[in-house]
Symmetry: C2
Subunit: 198 residues, 2 copies
Amino acid sequence: MSKTDGRLLRGARSRQTILKHAVDLASHDGLFGLSFGRLASDLEVGKSSVQTLFGSKQKLLLETIETAAAAFQDAVVKPALQAPRGLTRLRAMIDAWIVYAEEPLFYGGCFWAANLADFDDRPGPVHDALFRHRRAWRDGLTAEVRHAIDSGDLTDRDPDLTSFQLEAVLLATNTALRLGEKGAVWRARYAIDALLKP
Amino acid sequence: MSKTDGRLLRGARSRQTILKHAVDLASHDGLFGLSFGRLASDLEVGKSSVQTLFGSKQKLLLETIETAAAAFQDAVVKPALQAPRGLTRLRAMIDAWIVYAEEPLFYGGCFWAANLADFDDRPGPVHDALFRHRRAWRDGLTAEVRHAIDSGDLTDRDPDLTSFQLEAVLLATNTALRLGEKGAVWRARYAIDALLKP
């Protein structure tokens, strides 16, 4: 391996290490809490090298969002894609989401719940990236509801409305878990079952 | 009116003006976004006079929360208390909440939704105040569900579970409204009706 290759590889590794920490921080303190200085001091590296690696604060935020989205896909979406389309996959997605909220993938709980409210009224690339990923998740839920209806697993209903109701329960469950409320997962499962009664 | 009375009155008025603006800012940027400097420059007064009025940042945050809670009580809870206990009052509370989210009482939408996620893992007086008020709202919903069951308006069910489901729909509706999603209120009403079927 050439010297340049070694440098590139180390650079890629540092990038991943920094972004992983950035996602944890942003799930806890929100993306507003991210700064080159904070990342550098937490990871005991020079602030200027972190800055050089990412260029601008906005680029750092956008890469942090993509890192969170990839981890979310790997933990919640991809495993569910193994299940057959329709109600089985829908349930697999929801179960994986509840585990994701229960045993946080990110230090501060749901990355999206922590950041969507902060950016709802701040137009720009960070807002757009956050909402694109959230929309993709919601659209995925809607698509599986539609398949479950088409295959006869669910009676006819408005798929978008059902996915709205499902997402509402999931987000409220994340909040309840973050607040340490007893019975949060039990309530989630009951509410989900009520929505998915054939 | 004595000179001292005049000063006290002006002091009380400034306090209310500043707190009203603080609530708007915190509903938009979160309580983290609040600072004596920001309030002073927005309201074109001296930073030191704002600081003197409130003493510490923590006191400012706590008074901001109480101001938001009082406005929320006036807009959402008190009008509903005119309705008879049970399903009628429960529906009045929910309708008032939807109006509160639809035509924001606060500049940045729901004050609680904007701040709960930021403070869920920050123990201290600010966290406690936020969660006490949110708990009171949820407990109010639960109490009315219980009354609706006792009076026979709703079939027997777990009141706490039903209030969890109702709150989930309301918070998801606030998010949908903040994102400008079409049909948000229609979906909310449908989902609420489904939960409150006798």
